[in-house]
C-alpha cells in the first residue's frame, strides 16, 4: 500500500508541488519557531549560569538615592562579610542610569539600557567581573571606563574625554579603560559606564554605602552555609540569595518570556497551516476526481471502500512526510537566519549552539503529516464513495454537484450566530472580548462554509464589467471562476482568512493611532516635553535651567505624588499654578484653575463625581509623610490623559516631600516648535545626552509608536499565511488549466489567440483573489469595528477610523496576487498543443 502511495505521489509530482510547498512552509514556520526559541533559551540559560557561576551569595538592599529610609550595606558591614569564614571576596556595588554621549552629543543606546556602576578592584587591583582590553579601571574621581561596544560606537580611545550624564547635570570624564564583561544587559546591547567607587556612591546612593553585594566563596565553602552566615549581618529589608538560586530564577524568567514569544509565533504558524488545509483539500479533491475511473476499477476488482480511502490517505501521508522533511530543514535554516538577523538589528544574543530538540523534530513531522492527512480526509471519503460502476461509464469526472443546501444552511446559521455574538460582545465593553473572539471564530467558519454560495452572486456582479472591459476573455473568466464553487470557495477562503486578520488589525491599529493623535493634540498645548531618556525623574537643576532657557514662555513640571483624600488614595500631579493651563489644554468645568495658586486643588470631573465632591468642598488630605491638612476643591476639570486626576500646586507638596519626582517638564516657547528653540533647550540643559526633548510629534510617537510596531510585526507574521494563500491560487489555476485542456484547445482552434487565452486565465485568478479579498476585508472591518467598540470605553478619544487607503491597497495587492499567481498557469495554458488538447482520450 505504501509503495503504491509513493508511486502515485511520484506520478503526480507537478500537481502536488504546491501542496508540498504549502505544507513545507507551515512546517518550517513551526519548527523554525521551536528551534529558535530553544536555541535562545539555551543561550540565555548558559548566560545566566555563567553570570552567577562565581557568585556564591548575592545581596540586594533596594536602597536608592534620595530614599533615606531603606538601609543599604555600609563599608563596615562589607568588611564583616569579607571577614567571614569561607569568603574569598565580597564586592559592593552601586548602580543606576549613566548615559554616554557620542561625539555629536547624542545618547548611545536607548535610555533604559544605559547603566553605570562602580569599579571595585580586589586585592590584585582587578575587578573579576570586568576584563580590560585597553587601559585600566577608573580609580580617580575624573575617570570612567566603558564597555567595548559603547567605546566603539562613540569612537572613544583611552585618554579621550567622555561626556557622561547621570541623573544630575552632565559631566566630562577621562576614559581610563575599555572592558568586556559577561553582564547580561551589556550582552543584550546596553551600555555600561564604570566609575570609581566613591564617585558611583555619590551619584547613585550615599558615600560609603552599597546597594548590592556579591560574595564569592573560597575553595570548599558551601554557598548555603555562606548565605546563612551573611544573612544576620544584613539590614532588615535586604535580600540575600545564593548564585545558583538567582541563576535559576533568571533562567525561569527567560523561559517565561520565550514561552510567550513561542506561543505568539506558533499562533501565526497555526493560521498559516490552517490556510494550507484549503489548498491541500483542493489538490486531493482534484486528484480523486481525475482518478475516478481508476479508483472505481479498484473497487470493481474487489478493493473495499476502506482500502480506497486508505489509499488516498496514505498518499497524503507520503506528501506530508516529504514536505515535513524539507520543512524541518528549512525551519532550522530559518532559526539560524533569525538569530543572525536579530544580531544585525542590535539585539545581541549570547552565543551558543543551535538546539534542535526532539520535540521540534517530532512536532515538525506530526504537524506536517497530520495536517496533510486531515485535509485529505474529505476527498478520501469521497473517493471511497465512488461506485464500482463508474469504471464502466465513459462520463467525465464531473465536479461534485451534490447540493449545497445542507452546507449553506450550516454556514448561514454559523455566520448569523457568530455575527450576533460579535455585535453583542462589542456592546459589553472590555468584558466583551471573549464573546467577540468566540463570535469571530464562528463567523469566520460560517463565511468559509458559505463562500461557495457567495461566489456566484458576488462574481456575477462583476461579470458585466469584465465582459465590457475584456470582451470574451472576461466573460469566460467570470464564468470559469464560478464553475467549481467549492474549489473557488476553498481558494478564496485561504485569502479571505489572511485578509480578515490583516484588515482587522489595520482598522484597530489606525483607529488607536488616531485616538493617540487626537489625545495628544487635544490635551497638550506645550511645544516641548523634557524628560529623562531612562525614564527616571528629572533633577531639580534641570527644571531651574529650563525655566531660565531662552524663549521659554511657560513651564510647568509634573511631579508625581500620592494623596489620600478622605479614605481614597489618588495619584496627584504637582504643577506650577498659572503655567499649567498654558502647557496643557485644560477644560474647566466649574471653579477656576487660578485657585491652585491659593493652595486649593483641582479635580478631574469623573473622579470628583465618583467621590461626590463639588467646587468649594473641603476634603481632608493625608500626605506621604502622614501629615494631615484640609484642602478646598477650587476647580473641576475635564480629564487630561497626561495628568493625574488631582492637581495641586508644587508649593502644597513641598513641605511634605522634599523630592517629589519630576516626571516631565512641559514648556511653551516663543515662536513654537523650531530648531532654534530646541537648541536653546539643549543648551540650557548643558547638552545633556540623557535628556529627551520631544515635540508634539515625538510625544505622539512615544505613546502611539507601539501601535505601529505591533501592526508591522503582525503584518510580517501574517505574511506566511498570505504566501500560502497565493500558492493556493496558483494551485487552483494550474488545476483548472489542466482540467480544461480540451476546452482551451477548442477555443484556440476556433480562433481565440494565445494572448486572450492568457488573459482569460489571468482574469479568472484576479476574480478569485479579489473575491476572497473582498470577503476578508468585509469581515475584517466588521471585526475591527466590534473589537474597537469593546475597547472604546478604555481608549480616550476613541473614534472608528476605516483606513480606506490601506484597504484599497490590500485589494490592489490581492489583484496583483491574482496576476502573479496566474503567470505560470496562464503560460502553460497558452502554450497547450491544440491537437493533443482537442483529441479525445
Amino acid at each position: 500500500m505504501f509503495r503504491t502511495a509513493v508511486r502515485n505521489v511520484l506520478a503526480h509530482k507537478a500537481r502536488l508541488l504546491m501542496t508540498v510547498l504549502a505544507v513545507m512552509l507551515g512546517v518550517a514556520f513551526v519548527s523554525g519557531t521551536l528551534v529558535f526559541t530553544d536555541t535562545l533559551g539555551n543561550a540565555f540559560r548558559n548566560q545566566s549560569t555563567k553570570n552567577y557561576d562565581r557568585v556564591a551569595v548575592a545581596v540586594t538592599t533596594w536602597a536608592e538615592r534620595g530614599d533615606e529610609e531603606t538601609p543599604a550595606v555600609d563599608e563596615a558591614t562589607l568588611a564583616k562579610i569579607r571577614a567571614l569564614d569561607g569568603v574569598a571576596e565580597a564586592t559592593g556595588r552601586v548602580s543606576g542610569f549613566a548615559g554616554v554621549a557620542d561625539p555629536d552629543g547624542k545618547l548611545i543606546g536607548n535610555g533604559w539600557s544605559n547603566t553605570g556602576s562602580n569599579f571595585s578592584p580586589g586585592a590584585g587591583g582587578k575587578d573579576a567581573q570586568y576584563a580590560f582590553t585597553e587601559g585600566t579601571g577608573p580609580v580617580k574621581a575624573g575617570q570612567v571606563a566603558l564597555d567595548k561596544e559603547t567605546a566603539r560606537k562613540g569612537e572613544y580611545r583611552v585618554g579621550d574625554p567622555v561626556r557622561v550624564a547621570t541623573n544630575g547635570p552632565v559631566k566630562e570624564y577621562t576614559l581610563s579603560g575599555v572592558f568586556t564583561t559577561e553582564d547580561g544587559a551589556v550582552n543584550a546591547g546596553g551600555s555600561l559606564v564604570l566609575f570609581d567607587t566613591e564617585v558611583a556612591q555619590r551619584l547613585y546612593l550615599r558615600p560609603g554605602q552599597f546597594t548590592d553585594v556579591t560574595v564569592t566563596a573560597a575553595a570548599g565553602a558551601s554557598d548555603q552555609r555562606l548565605l546563612d552566615a551573611v544573612k544576620p549581618l544584613l539590614p532588615e529589608a535586604a535580600e540575600a540569595r545564593t548564585g545558583a538560586a538567582l541563576a535559576a530564577e533568571e533562567a525561569e524568567q527567560t523561559e517565561n518570556g520565550l514561552k510567550n514569544l513561542n506561543q505568539l509565533l506558533l499562533a501565526f504558524a497555526a493560521i498559516a497551516l490552517f490556510v494550507g488545509v484549503f489548498l491541500i483539500a483542493n489538490t486531493f479533491t482534484m486528484l480523486v476526481a481525475q482518478r475516478t475511473k481508476e479508483l472505481a476499477l479498484m473497487r470493481a476488482v474487489g478493493a473495499s471502500r476502506r482500502q480506497v480511502k486508505w489509499a488516498v490517505l496514505s498518499e497524503a501521508g507520503v506528501v506530508g512526510l516529504i514536505a515535513s522533511v524539507i520543512g524541518l530543514l528549512l525551519g532550522v535554516g530559518l532559526a539560524t537566519g533569525l538569530r543572525s538577523a536579530m544580531g544585525a538589528f542590535g539585539g545581541k544574543i549570547p552565543a551558543g549552539p543551535l538546539v534542535v530538540s526532539p520535540t521540534a523534530v517530532v512536532s515538525a513531522f506530526a504537524v506536517g503529516i497530520l495536517i496533510t492527512v486531515f485535509a485529505a480526509w474529505l476527498p478520501a471519503r469521497r473517493a471511497a464513495k465512488i461506485p464500482p460502476v463508474a469504471a464502466m461509464s465513459s462520463v467525465h469526472a464531473v465536479a461534485s454537484t451534490k447540493s449545497l443546501v445542507l452546507r449553506n444552511s450550516v454556514g448561514g446559521v454559523l455566520t448569523l450566530l457568530g455575527s450576533a455574538a460579535i455585535v453583542l460582545g462589542s456592546s459589553q465593553g472590555a468584558d466583551g472580548k471573549v464573546v467577540i473572539g468566540v463570535g469571530a471564530f464562528f463567523a469566520l467558519t460560517g463565511v468559509i462554509v458559505l463562500i461557495p454560495l457567495l461566489s456566484r452572486p458576488v462574481i456575477a456582479l462583476v461579470r458585466p464589467l469584465l465582459r465590457k472591459l475584456f470582451g470574451v476573455s472576461g466573460k469566460l473568466a467570470a464564468q470559469n471562476a464560478v464553475r467549481n464553487p467549492r474549489r473557488t470557495g476553498a481558494t478564496a477562503s485561504a485569502l479571505a482568512i489572511g485578509l480578515t486578520l490583516v484588515t482587522g488589525i489595520s482598522v484597530l491599529g489606525v483607529t488607536l493611532g488616531q485616538a493617540v493623535d487626537k489625545t495628544t493634540t487635544d490635551n497638550i498645548r506645550a511645544d516641548y516635553m523634557v524628560s529623562m531618556a531612562s525614564g527616571d525623574s528629572l533633577d531639580e537643576s534641570a527644571l531651574a535651567a529650563l525655566r531660565k532657557a531662552d524663549g521659554v514662555t511657560a513651564a510647568s513640571p509634573q511631579r508625581a505624588t500620592w494623596l489620600t483624600l478622605g479614605e481614597a488614595g489618588v495619584s496627584a500631579s504637582a504643577v506650577t499654578p498659572g503655567e499649567v493651563e498654558k502647557v496643557f489644554a485644560l477644560k474647566t468645568v466649574s471653579g477656576s484653575l487660578s485657585s491652585l495658586k491659593d493652595g486649593e486643588m483641582a479635580v478631574d470631573r469623573k473622579t470628583a463625581a465618583s467621590h461626590g465632591w463639588k467646587t468649594g468642598d473641603s476634603v481632608p488630605v493625608t500626605f506621604l509623610d502622614d501629615k494631615k491638612e484640609t484642602l478646598k476643591v477650587g476647580a473641576l476639570y475635564e480629564g487630561n490623559e497626561f495628568l493625574s486626576p488631582v492637581l495641586v500646586s508644587e508649593k502644597v507638596i513641598a513641605p511634605h516631600e522634599s523630592l517629589a519626582e519630576i516626571r516631565e517638564v512641559w514648556l511653551t516657547m516663543d515662536g513654537g516648535r523650531s530648531a532654534a528653540n530646541e537648541q536653546a533647550l539643549v543648551d540650557a540643559l548643558g547638552d545633556n545626552p540623557a535628556m529627551s526633548i520631544m515635540d508634539r510629534q515625538g510625544i505622539r510617537d512615544m505613546f502611539g509608536g507601539f501601535v505601529n510596531t505591533a501592526m508591522n510585526i503582525m503584518y510580517g507574521l501574517l505574511a506566511m499565511a498570505l504566501v500560502i494563500a497565493v500558492l493556493g491560487v496558483v494551485n487552483t489555476l494550474a488545476m483548472s488549466v489542466f482540467e480544461r485542456q480540451q476546452e482551451i484547445g477548442m477555443l484556440r482552434a476556433i480562433g481565440l489567440d494565445r494572448r486572450r487565452v492568457k488573459r482569460m486565465i489571468r482574469l479568472e485568478a484576479v476574480v478569485i483573489s479579489l473575491f476572497g479579498a473582498v470577503v476578508g476585508v468585509a469581515l475584517g472591518m466588521f471585526l475591527g469595528w466590534a473589537i474597537g467598540e469593546a475597547l472604546s470605553s478604555s481608549v480616550p478619544e476613541y473614534a472608528l477610523v476605516i483606513p480606506w487607503g490601506r484597504i484599497a491597497l490590500f485589494l490592489a495587492l490581492a489583484g496583483l496576487v491574482g496576476v502573479l499567481a496566474s503567470l505560470w498557469p496562464a503560460r502553460s495554458g497558452a502554450k497547450l498543443n491544440m491537437l493533443t488538447a482537442i483529441k479525445t482520450e
Binding site: 469566460l476 464564468q479 480540451q742 477548442m746 477555443l747 476556433i750 480562433g751 481565440l752 494565445r754 494572448r755
Partner: protein
C-alpha cells in the same frame, strides 16, 4: 441528384499542393503526409477516409491551420498558410474556418446560443441575426437555446456544434469524425444538416471519417493510405465505399 453540386462551382475553397508532413529525423523518421495535392472546391462536401495511420486526420489538421507542415503549400481561399504566424493563423481560423469535433467540445458554462455565437464573440462581431436564425432553424434548436450543454443529449450537443461552425459563415468547415460519438440516428441527423448546408447554403465541408455510411453523405470521398491520396469516389454510396475500403484492406494484407 449530386451532379449539380460538383459542377455548380469552379472556385476552390482550400487547396493543398505537394503537402508533406514528416515527424522525427533519420532512422525514426515517420512520413505522415507524402506530397499530397488535393483541392476542396467551394460548395462541395468532401469526406476523407482511410485506415488508422493513413494520415487523414493530419491532412485535415494541416489544411485547417491547426498543425504545421514540413513542405508544400496550403491555401485557404487566397491565403497561403505556410507563411502565417500563430496570431494570423488564429485569426484565419476564427474568421474563415468552422470546426466540428468528435467530442462536441462545447463550453459547459455557456448556453447553447452563447456556444453558437462564440466565434463571433471572440472576433467581437455581431452575428447576422437573419443568418443565425436560419442556421438555428435548420438544426432545430430553437427551443433549446437557453440550455447548457449538460442539459442536452449528445445529438443535440453536436447540433449546437454544427450551428456554431455554420453561424460565422466560414469559407470552409472541417469535421473531425463528427458522428464518432453519436448513435446512428443522431449521426444521420448531423450528417443531414451538413449535407443541407452544402446544398442549400452553398457551404464547403470537409469531413474525416472512418464510417462508410457517413462518407456516403458526401459528394466525393478521398481515400488516403500511407500519407498519400490513393483514390477518390464521386457520388459515393455506403456499399461502394465499403467495397473500396475492403479492397484496400485486402491489398494491405497481401502486401
Amino acid at each position: 441528384m449530386t451532379t449539380t453540386a460538383v459542377h455548380r462551382t469552379t472556385a476552390v475553397a482550400a487547396r493543398a499542393t505537394e503537402l508533406s508532413k514528416v515527424y522525427g529525423q533519420g532512422e525514426t523518421q515517420v512520413v505522415a503526409l507524402d506530397r499530397v495535392t488535393v483541392d476542396f472546391p467551394q460548395g462541395e462536401f468532401t469526406a476523407i477516409m482511410g485506415p488508422s495511420g493513413s494520415g487523414k486526420s493530419t491532412l485535415m489538421h494541416c489544411v485547417a491551420g491547426l498543425d504545421s507542415f514540413s513542405s508544400g503549400s496550403v491555401r485557404i481561399g487566397e491565403t497561403e498558410l505556410g507563411t502565417l504566424k500563430d496570431k494570423q493563423l488564429t485569426q484565419l481560423r476564427r474568421d474563415k474556418i468552422g470546426f466540428i469535433f468528435q467530442a462536441f467540445n462545447l463550453l459547459p458554462t455557456l448556453s447553447a446560443l452563447e456556444n453558437i455565437t462564440l466565434p463571433m464573440d471572440i472576433a467581437g462581431r455581431k452575428p447576422d441575426a437573419a443568418w443565425l436564425q436560419k442556421v438555428i432553424d435548420m438544426v432545430g434548436l430553437s427551443d433549446r437555446l437557453g440550455h447548457r450543454p449538460t442539459e442536452l443529449s449528445g445529438g443535440q450537443q453536436q447540433r449546437v456544434a454544427v450551428a456554431r461552425a455554420l453561424a460565422s459563415q466560414p469559407e470552409i468547415i472541417f469535421g473531425d469524425e463528427p458522428t464518432g460519438n453519436l448513435d446512428s440516428r443522431s449521426g444521420a441527423e448531423v450528417l443531414g444538416f451538413l449535407r443541407n448546408s452544402v446544398r442549400e447554403l452553398g457551404q464547403t465541408v470537409v469531413m474525416v471519417t472512418h464510417d462508410p455510411v457517413a462518407a456516403s453523405y458526401a459528394d466525393r470521398v478521398l481515400f488516403l493510405a500511407d500519407g498519400a491520396v490513393v483514390d477518390q469516389m464521386m457520388h459515393p454510396t455506403a456499399d461502394g465505399v465499403l467495397d473500396r475500403m475492403k479492397a484496400f484492406d485486402a491489398k494491405g494484407r497481401t502486401s
